[in-house]
């Protein structure tokens, strides 16, 4: 791209920024999907490297018991919710990719369904444990 064209390109009107819009169920869920994705990547990296280090340091399995400790529980519940939310919303995305549920009504309905499902699944798993 030449310099002049770059200047013209930079002066083009940009679309309104995210803070200007009124919060809607679809936009909030979309942002949350990305945020949980980033969070899961960070969480999974920590857990996997913890496992790797655990295995290569003679597998002292008592470190697995840290799950019983209360300080670990809060991030664990957060990762758990992020996982279930990303799972439910991912299924919603897969349904969209196959060409269904594109009406506004369906999008709102499945959106609330995703929230309900992920909360229920998180609660169920932690009550089950």
């Amino acid at each position: 791209m030449t310099k002049t064209r770059q200047r013209v390109y930079n002066n083009r009107p940009t679309s309104p920024h995210i803070t200007i819009y009124r919060k809607q169920i679809s936009s909030v869920l979309s942002i949350l999907h990305r945020m949980t994705g980033i969070g899961l990547f960070a969480g999974l990296s920590i857990i996997v490297w913890y496992f790797i280090i655990l295995v290569f340091s003679k597998f002292d399995a008592k470190y697995l018991l840290c799950m019983k400790c209360n300080i670990i529980k809060l991030p664990a519940i957060a990762i758990c919710f992020a996982w279930f939310y990303h799972l439910c919303n991912g299924i919603r995305h897969l349904i969209w990719d196959s060409g269904y549920c594109f009406s506004i009504k369906a999008i709102n309905l499945t959106g609330w369904l995703v929230i309900a499902c992920s909360l229920a699944m998180t609660l169920a798993l932690w009550l089950l444990i």
């Binding site: 030449t2 002049t4 064209r5 013209v8 390109y9 002066n11 083009r12 009107p13 990305r34 994705g37 980033i38 899961l40 990547f41 999974l44 990296s45 996997v48 490297w49 496992f51 790797i52 295995v55 290569f56 003679k58 597998f59 399995a61 008592k62 697995l64 018991l65 799950m67 996982w83 799972l87 991912g90 299924i91 995305h93 897969l94 990719d97 798993l125 089950l128 444990i129």
Partner: protein, 140 residues
């Protein structure tokens, strides 16, 4: 808003004396470009299936005492799904984080560097995890 947009478009078109076809040909086809989209969906479906296993695994693991828990990790029917889950989710995460980086990092050089760091990190983690899985049986 519309007027300035139209003018900028005109300026762009006037500056470029080539035809649209020539411009398109000059940019060329990358020969690939949609495979990551498809792989992201395929890995998503695999991860949905693996997640069902993971729920059962967490449920079983939580009610075990320590020796049984370590024994659980040496069983093939636990190691194989665990391996598939972690490797697939890291591939899925690599594609997803790449999109995130591409969306929010506007500096092209920084963007490329971050993507390469991300990919190296994912490849190292996946390899180390697979090796660690083989060692679980030896150390228990």
């Amino acid at each position: 808003m519309f007027a300035s947009n139209d003018v900028s478009f005109m300026v762009i078109n006037m500056m470029d004396l080539r035809t649209d076809l020539a411009r398109a040909k000059g940019l060329g086809s990358a020969k690939s470009g949609s495979h990551h989209w498809l792989y992201q969906r395929i890995t998503a479906i695999i991860l949905v299936i693996c997640s069902i296993w993971l729920v059962f695994f967490i449920k079983c693991a939580s009610s075990q005492n320590l020796p049984d828990l370590t024994l659980m990790l040496t069983k093939p029917y636990n190691i194989v799904p665990l391996g598939i889950l972690v490797v697939t989710s890291f591939y899925h995460a690599m594609l997803g984080m790449r999109v995130v980086i591409e969306d929010y990092i506007s500096c092209i050089k920084l963007r490329s560097v971050l993507i390469i760091i991300l990919q190296i990190f994912c490849i190292i983690t996946i390899s180390a995890f697979i090796v660690a899985l083989f060692y679980t049986g030896i150390y228990v």
